[in-house]
Amino acid sequence: MCSGRVDLEFILRAFSNGMDGVFIGGCRLNECNYTTQGNYHALNTALLSRGLIEHIGLNPERLSVEFMSAGEGIRFAEVTNEFVRKVKELGPLGDGEGIDKEELKSNLANLRRLVPYIKQVKHEKLGKPLRNPDEYETYFTSEEIDSLIRDEVSYYIDPEKCQACMICARRCPVEAIISARNQVHIIEQDKCIKCGTCLEVCPTKFNAVRKTSGEPVPPPLPEDERSIVRASKEGVA
């Protein structure tokens, strides 16, 4: 396992659990023992995470990423001590920043919900080796993070159009679509990872999946109003 295995979710989960600081350690940059240079991926994940926690009002210094070799024990001790000192100085998570506990909790939960989406949007940037340390601070700007969250993409199914063919539900990788015969399909927004597969596979003759950006989706139909009344069948009846 490489430091590049560190997932955005790991970091956010730790903060959600109330950790006051998170430290990521990797091998020295440009000295990868393999061919992956995965520590650059770890660096980018950390930089992005710093931007994300800053976006919800946390001090980005609570997340640290450092690169060193097994032979640098003393440096490791110094870096760790310094990080612990800094985190202590910042105080308990949220308290130090003066954020309401409940608000922090829901903000972190929201970020975690967006992890799959963020991974898709920032994919290229997460895999790029950032050779110049001067670029670190500006790699993910606060404007970029703001718009990333603000312009969140969502998918929903237009109840007027859905013919309950179940294709989208079968293809949804995370089983986020409630489907039943003759019932308008519903995308569960909490489960949806915003991959757009449903939009892609919805037959063009129905064209029922809608994509929005930066606005909430309309609430789903109440369960007892989801039955589809088919025009053709109605005629027969």
Binding site: C2, G4, R13, T35, P173, V201
Partner: protein, 907 residues
């Protein structure tokens, strides 16, 4: 208490002790300082030992073993500075050897990693290193050769000292800085650029000890300030290497000859052979060498023994039988926790019994106990017995870093009939007791945290299959120089077909341009003989004028397409050796290519050999070293040029004793026994003039007294003035440079290049002839510039590793690889671009594009896992579920409950 020999007798130890913390086997023993053994007194230990393990009647036994071959690797002895009174060693308390200092630096050393002075146990602030102690000396008590390793180990000590104490002032007195090894030049610069570090080129003498402060004064001289005396808190003697203790007796016993320095006598064409057939030599008994070279000579000697005893291969091996694995996949997790004392390493700080008690309160834990040394044979047996008895299906070992012992404990699980991937380790030594020795309560809390996290992950581990891959028994060697040919022959002599691919029309590589070695070997005769052996060997298939068009496959199963004289061939092979050699820098300086009196050192060698009169009859000849390297563009030393130039100079003096020869150098790097030739050259009036990089020698073509000359201007550092030398011939020591096609080769075979574009081995010291890509090996100049004897050493070393692989019918691939849950895959391809091993591909299915992992190519880095938006691709053994469980468990459950309570209270 008696002086602890492992700690250079700086600290004390008891008669019963372990040799040192990482000793193998890690067992306690009684040494000759025991009171009972000496005076029949005491015997307290027998009364205390509950297991009756103390046996005073044990005697050394004589064993007779019949063997077909012998490898001598007795190592070396550090030089004893007491042989020369003027070093003050043993007389002044704060004069230590580099070996003493090494122990002072070590966390397991006499003061647990604190550098303290013997006189007052205070931290020294001003420290001096004196280089070449016992080396490069022809005076009585010294050795004439260069010990080859001291420059770099001193730099390491300086860097570590600065890490201990950033304010320390470090001064190194040296003669030349011999950073001739791979990446050494950069390392030297790193040390040199640290604040408060001075490298001073000067002979020194140790003055006196201040009777009050016990500081030591050192006298030295610099061109700028003349003779000075300076006081230091501590003086470190960088002692050289000498032959192993009792070397004469050893030589007599095995019937081998020694060289004039007392090391094993060997020849350039096979440095691993002694003068007695069937007896081989590896490591520092060949001569002063560093760790990487020791390691590959060990493998090389093994390969030669393999050639000799190939008919007996595998006759003494017994296959290990493990009990059948129990299928526990449907059982609830039943975790057993074993908490190790590690002698006192852990228990001195962490209250181990409390940790055991705590472990028993954790979910899924059905059993827990402590152990003195979990890694000891009896403890491993205890774990596997208990696992069977208690029906454990997961085991957590709370001990040290998995890096060293995970393999051992996995084996223990297999012995218990449990899949080895059900093991998890909690590192409560390096990550806890060793760093929290002053905060015992917190240390226990942290140990409990680590154990809780380990149990959480262990509960979610899955049984994994390691799979056997068949091994094709043939090898491919890329490059037909000395390295490639030697390696190919050694592999073929051990019963494997070898395909040797050479890009040129003829075999031989760079060696075709070399006529003799410094030691006098006739290289062309050697090369002819070697080439003949290669062509005559029925198992070696030679492809000349060859290019590799495609290389695919993986360990044991490579497929390489070669276009050559033989047409287009597809070669299936189990192992690959990269021995593609190097190139020579074509100088752009000093009128090279414009004036035919200017030539490279290799061209000079050719002319000398041809007897070119203009060269041999020259009145004056100048050699300029370090042309094209040790600069910004190529920040490394080409290693071979100092020897090459001295060899040429000596050959010229032989033919024309009247010739004035000047060698303009930066540092003369005649390491090891080559130092003797440097001394010989100096004694034959060959003039050595040192230049600094900021003041390079200059040259112009002009006339002197009507005769055309090459006028070389250089600053003489001793006379401190410009010298003008009118030369007839100027030879440039052109750098050895990586081949331009190294990048292409590295991409074809999925191996990496280092910062200077030489091929990068898997580990500098531990795996010096292997790549991190399994089944691909490295030797010769493709790795780094080296002399012929070193190339041969390394070629045999690579052959040894190749045959180790090819002698198996199968190789085992790790079970910790990535796998795709097809339903969850959305076909975005982010995993494909994250994978540098090209182990993942997108395949079209009826449900759209889906990723597929080739487990054989996957190295288990998990980059794809972190990129996957849907969690479809998972790195087995490090799944999201298991790692998140571990992260969640970092917060104790009661804390979470408290948080919830607090939240409820607020509401």
């Amino acid at each position: 208490m008696y002086p602890d020999r492992f700690n250079q007798e700086i600290s004390k130890n008891k008669a019963i002790h372990i040799h040192f913390a990482q000793a193998i086997p890690l067992v306690t023993y009684i040494d000759e300082s025991c009171l009972y053994l000496k005076e029949k007194k005491c015997k307290i230990c027998t009364a205390v030992c509950e297991n009756n393990a103390i046996d005073f009647t044990q005697k050394a036994e004589k064993l007779e073993v019949n063997v077909g071959a012998i490898i001598l690797s007795p190592g070396l002895e550090p030089y004893d500075p007491k042989l020369r009174d003027e070093y003050g060693y043993g007389k002044f308390q704060n004069v230590v050897t580099s070996m003493d200092y090494e122990r002072l630096l070590s966390a397991s050393g006499p003061y647990e990693g604190e550098i303290l002075r013997a006189s007052d146990k205070k931290h020294p602030h001003r420290i001096a290193w004196i280089q070449c102690v016992g080396s490069r000396q022809v005076t009585p008590g010294g050795n004439s050769y260069c010990s080859a390793v001291c420059c770099t180990y001193t730099q390491k000590q300086v860097i570590l000292t600065k890490e201990h104490d950033a304010e320390a002032e470090c001064t190194i007195f040296h003669n030349d800085i011999r950073s001739y090894g791979k990446d050494f030049e950069r390392y030297f610069e790193r040390a040199e650029n640290l604040a408060g570090v001075r490298f001073i080129r000067s002979y020194v003498s140790i003055g006196k000890e201040d009777p009050k402060t016990k500081n030591v004064s050192v006298r030295y001289s610099t061109p700028d300030d003349g003779v000075q005396e300076e006081e230091f808190d501590m003086v470190v003697l960088s002692v050289g290497l000498t032959p192993p203790a009792g070397f004469k007796g050893l030589a007599d016993k095995f019937g081998i000859e020694l060289n004039s320095h007392g090391f094993c006598k060997s020849n350039t064409s096979n440095p691993l052979e002694t003068t007695m057939p069937g007896v081989y030599v590896s490591g520092a008994f060949q001569g002063p060498v560093d760790i990487p070279e020791s390691v590959f000579t060990a493998s090389g000697a093994g390969s030669q023994v393999g050639e000799l005893l190939n008919c007996r291969r595998g006759k003494l091996t017994t296959e290990r039988k493990y009990p059948l694995e129990r299928d526990v996949s449907v059982e609830e997790p039943k975790v057993g926790v074993f908490v190790c004392h590690c002698g006192a390493n852990i228990s001195r700080v962490v209250n181990v019994p409390s940790a055991v008690e705590y472990a028993l309160t954790l979910p899924n834990v059905v059993y827990a106990q402590n152990q003195l040394f979990s890694c000891a044979t009896n403890s491993a047996k205890e774990i596997s017995d208990l696992a069977k008895e208690k029906g454990l299906n997961r085991v957590v070992i709370a001990a040290c870093s998995p890096r060293t012992l995970e393999a051992l404990f996995r084996d223990t699980l297999r012995e218990a009939g449990i899949n080895q991937y059900y093991l998890e380790m909690a590192n409560i030594r390096e990550q806890c007791s060793w760093v929290h020795s002053k905060e015992k309560e917190e240390a226990l809390e942290k140990a409990n945290d680590l154990i809780r996290m380990a149990v959480a992950r262990a509960s979610r581990l899955e049984a994994l299959e390691e799979f056997d891959l068949p091994v094709n028994k043939q090898a491919l060697v890329v490059g037909g120089g000395i390295a490639g040919m030697t390696c190919a022959l050694s592999i073929a002599n051990q019963g494997h077909e070898v395909h040797l691919v050479e890009r040129e029309a003829d075999l031989g590589g760079m060696a075709r341009r070399i006529h003799t070695t410094l030691e006098g070997m006739d290289v062309q005769a050697y090369l002819r003989d070697l080439t003949r052996k290669v062509y005559k060997h029925p198992a070696v298939h030679v492809y000349t004028s060859a290019t590799i068009t495609e290389a695919t496959g993986y360990v044991g199963n490579f497929v390489t397409r070669v276009k050559s004289d033989r047409g287009l061939t597809e070669i299936k092979h189990g192992a690959t050796v990269i021995a593609t050699g190097t190139d020579l820098y074509k100088p752009t300086e000093y009128l090279y290519g414009q004036d035919d009196r200017v030539m490279t050192h290799l061209e000079l060698e050719e002319r000398i050999n041809e007897g070119d009169e203009r060269v041999v009859n020259a009145e004056s000849l100048v050699m300029i070293q370090c042309v094209g390297c040790r600069n910004e563009e190529r920040n490394y030393c080409s290693r071979v040029c100092c020897g090459e130039s001295i060899k040429n100079a000596l050959a010229l003096k032989e033919k024309n004793p009247q010739m004035d020869i000047y060698i303009l150098f930066r540092d003369i790097r005649t390491y090891g026994f080559k130092e003797d030739y440097y001394r010989e050259a100096a004694s034959k009036d060959i003039r050595f003039i040192r230049w600094e990089p900021q003041d390079k020698p200059e040259m112009e073509a002009t006339k002197a007294d009507g005769k055309p000359v090459l006028r070389v201007t250089v600053t003489d550092p001793i006379l401190e003035k410009k010298l003008e030398i009118d030369a007839d011939i100027v030879a440039l020591a052109a750098a050895v440079i990586p081949r331009a096609d190294n990048k292409e080769v590295s991409q074809q075979f999925k191996v990496s290049l280092g910062p200077d574009d030489f091929f990068k081995e898997a580990h500098v010291k531990l795996r010096p002839v292997e790549f991190s890509a399994d089944g691909v090996y490295l030797c010769g100049m493709a790795h780094y510039p080296k002399h012929i004897s070193e190339t041969i050493n390394q070629a045999y070393g690579a052959a040894g590793r190749v045959v180790t692989l090819l002698s198996h019918d199968t190789v085992v691939a790790s079970g910790s690889v990535c796998v795709v849950e097809e339903k969850r895959c959305m076909g975005c391809g982010q995993c494909v671009s994250a994978c540098t091993y090209r182990a993942i591909e997108l395949r079209e299915t009826r449900q759209g594009k889906k990723s597929v992992v080739n487990p054989v190519l996957c190295k288990g880095c998990g980059l794809c896992n972190a990129k996957c938006p849907s969690g479809a691709i998972q790195l087995k053994h490090f799944t999201d579920e298991a790692l998140l469980a571990q992260i969640d468990a970092a917060v104790p459950e009661e804390d979470i409950i408290e948080q919830i309570d607090a939240a409820v209270a607020v509401v």
